[in-house]
């Protein structure tokens, strides 16, 4: 990928800052999301909560469905490829969507290698639980990062853990003398040049969104106050009792994340949130965030 193309791709993510990216499974939901003020939609066959419930192998969605969604909205359209499945990524690039999510929500196709994203013109967003994971994805060519969280649960605890972990590790790196950064980079699996850049910037060098378990306006504002640039909401909208109101409320909460009075106003009378699944009650093998490295 040309350097200029990578920059353009990172810059599209910059234009999404402060916004909400919503999972949608059909044209009707995509239009609801756009009308509510989503900055992009993630087109997929099943939201993570259903993938979790139904089990089996989760793969890239039918391109016909993604194409129909793409034709129904003017906002950017993202879609998921399995970790390491570079042919699914080639197909999504041929479809000319706007962003690929190399996602742990789908069943990984490769347990050793993630996709070499530098070989593509289309941008990628990747999940991360900590600074090392984020840096390795950026080194592979990701133009945007998101926390993994624990998708399909409606429990924000893992997204908070991942964001706090990244913040803590960035503070440690930023505060240490350069000679200690070599050992820190080695211990955390961070490419050294990237470690120096993160140390200098005091943050990730690309846009970083929160994802995984966000279900309420307060969850979205929490992640924004923890320093995220924007949020993904997967199952949290269309698994709630009133998706139209909830989608709009979460958009407002992301914009006014620092204003408790506005957050109060938008949090009222939204109906039932998705019922959810406490991450603490789940067995280790049921957790999706452990996929990838």
């Amino acid at each position: 990928m040309a350097e200029n193309r990578y920059l353009l791709n990172a810059q599209l993510a910059q234009m999404l800052k402060g916004g909400v990216i919503m999972d949608v499974v059909n044209v009707e939901q995509a239009q609801i999301a756009q009308e509510a003020g989503a900055v992009a939609v993630m087109a997929l066959e099943r939201v993570p909560a259903d993938i979790r419930k139904q089990g089996g192998v989760a793969r890239m969605s039918d391109p016909g469905l993604i194409k129909a969604i793409k034709e129904s909205v003017t906002i950017p359209v993202m879609a998921k490829a399995r970790i390491g499945h570079f042919v699914e990524a080639q197909i999504l690039q041929a479809l000319k969507i706007d962003y690929i999510d190399e996602s742990e929500v789908l069943t990984p196709a490769d347990e050793e290698c993630h996709i070499d994203k530098s070989r593509f013109d289309i941008p990628f967003v990747c999940g991360a639980r900590n600074l090392g994971e984020a840096a390795r994805r950026i080194a592979e060519g990701a133009a945007m990062i998101r926390t993994k969280g624990e998708a399909g649960t409606g429990d924000v605890v893992e997204a908070v853990r991942h964001m706090r972990t990244m913040n803590r590790e960035i503070r440690q790196l930023a505060g240490m003398p350069t000679e200690e950064a070599v050992g820190f980079a080695k211990a955390n699996g961070i490419p050294y040049e990237l470690a120096l850049e993160i140390k200098k910037l005091g943050r990730l060098p690309v846009v970083n969104f929160a994802a995984g378990g966000i279900a309420t306006p307060a969850d979205a504002a929490l992640m924004m106050q923890l320093g995220c640039d924007g949020v993904f909401v997967g199952s949290g909208i269309f698994k709630s009792s009133d998706p139209v109101r909830r989608a709009s409320a979460i958009v407002k909460a992301a914009a006014f994340y620092n204003d408790p009075e506005k957050l109060l106003e938008v949090s009222m009378d939204l109906g039932d949130p998705m019922s959810g699944l406490s991450v603490a009650s789940m067995a280790a093998e049921e957790r999706l965030a452990g996929r990838g490295w």
């Binding site: 234009m15 913040n167 640039d229 958009v251 204003d259």
Partner: protein, 218 residues
């Protein structure tokens, strides 16, 4: 700090806010983010940044910021819309109702295709800068019609990319995503401010991460 009437604002609802704040800092103009109607008070000009125009138009309507901006514009506030901002300022938005509707142009949203059709290039806009300047188009709109009172500043392959009237500047591209400061200087002067610093079009100190000094932290 100069007095408040010497300040420019950047509408801070969603999108490329920090990038504009960084450019305004580079030309030595005092600038602040604007989230609420009351924060428009005393501004000489307001930048409506790029982002997603549907999202921005919903948020503008929500807290009656749209009314406040129209009112301030009647009172002399100058406006500049980049990309989605230009869509919001346009009187005619093909396929959707106009948002602020303050300049007599028609725009076509996302007129180039998907992200893979985004591009950057150099342009010549003699009214703005003598030398060629780089600009970036991200899922950009096109201005497809400009009314009688509107001056075209830049026309490219069959569409208008930058235009203005006495109150409002619109560009479908993003000078704030490049080292190019010429458009920010041009807008500051349109607002009656004299930008400081060397009068060079390109800032060699700019990097693609420069905006991050204004990004919010935990």
């Amino acid at each position: 700090m100069r007095d408040a009437a010497g300040a420019l604002g950047v509408l801070d609802l969603q999108g490329g806010v920090q990038e504009h704040l960084d450019h305004l800092r580079r030309i030595g103009v005092s600038a602040r983010a604007v989230k609420r109607a009351a924060e428009l008070e005393g501004l000489a000009g307001l930048i409506v940044p790029g982002g997603e125009s549907t999202c921005l138009s919903r948020l503008l309507r929500l807290f009656e910021l749209d009314r406040a901006i129209r009112h301030a514009c009647d009172g002399g506030l100058k406006l500049w819309g980049t990309c989605a901002g230009a869509i919001l300022l346009a009187a005619e938005n093909l396929g959707e109702a106009p948002a602020l509707g303050l300049i007599d142009i028609a725009v076509s949203r996302n007129a180039f295709g998907s992200q893979m059709d985004s591009f950057s290039r150099e342009i010549l806009a003699p009214a703005v800068a003598q030398e060629p300047i780089p600009v970036t188009f991200i899922r950009a709109p096109k201005i497809v019609r400009a009314g009688a009172g509107v001056r075209v500043l830049l026309e490219l392959d069959g569409y208008i990319a930058a235009a203005e009237d006495d109150r409002i500047l619109v560009t479908v591209f993003h000078p704030e995503l490049t080292p190019n400061l010429a458009f920010h200087r041009y807008f500051a002067r349109k607002c009656g401010l004299e930008p400081g610093g060397a009068d060079q079009s390109l800032d060699p100190g700019w990097t693609p991460q420069s905006w991050m000094r204004f990004s919010h932290r935990a």
